[in-house]
Amino acid sequence: MSSSPLTRTVTVRNAQGLHARPADMLVRLANRFRSDVQLGKADQWVDAKSILSVLTLGATCGTELSVSAEGADAEDALQAIGELFEGGFDEPNGVEDAESTVDS
């Protein structure tokens, strides 16, 4: 058991970005784990268990974020959070939408 934080990179895939509802989903998920979970955008790190903090990232579609977890269930936390981002928070996928839209 290592006590150093585990990290991974996730990408915001849903077209609307990390707005209030996805942020709520993320915070609820993060709170299920005992590990300390942080979310980072460039050099800005925030507590992934606080919605007010997560919203300060203003992460739009396509933004890459770092997730860092430290604690006994850190690995599970990163896995679950990664899946939430990959699933686009059950919202329309921004990348596909962009490809299928022709600007007029």
Binding site: L18, R21, D24, Q44, I51, S53, L55, A59, T60
Partner: protein, 159 residues
Amino acid sequence: MKFSDFIKTDAIRAELKSATKPAVIEELVQSLTEAGEIDSEQRDDIIAAIMKREDLGSTGIGRGVAVPHTKHPSVQRLVGTVGVSEAGIDFDSLDGEPVQLFFLLISPPERPGDHLRALENISRQLRDETFCRFLKQSKTAQDISQLLQEADDNQFAAG
């Protein structure tokens, strides 16, 4: 993005009269209608859209703050207002606490980035407890307007 980029001063409401979630949403949308920011014919449709969004999950994000919002094709740019209720209103908040501070936002459907930047600004400023407390204690629209201006001038949150 600053408060002055989207909060319409004429629509700010201190001492909200409403005591329920539907009533406060209507009161704030009405304030934007009276300020001439939204078309009065679209008022009811906008209220319904905001309520529908609340059904997906409350925008009461905790600390006595809510950010009711919707996208609506009738607005050309992001418009918003602020309302303060001294008593607090039950809003099914994520933390179960009544809401005293409301930031209501209506954005054009094709501008998700603007909505995110407004949320970013609101949440960043509200992390400052002094700003949050002063807003909740505001008795007049002028007090609120001045606090938003001071926040825009970086007199509260540093980053």
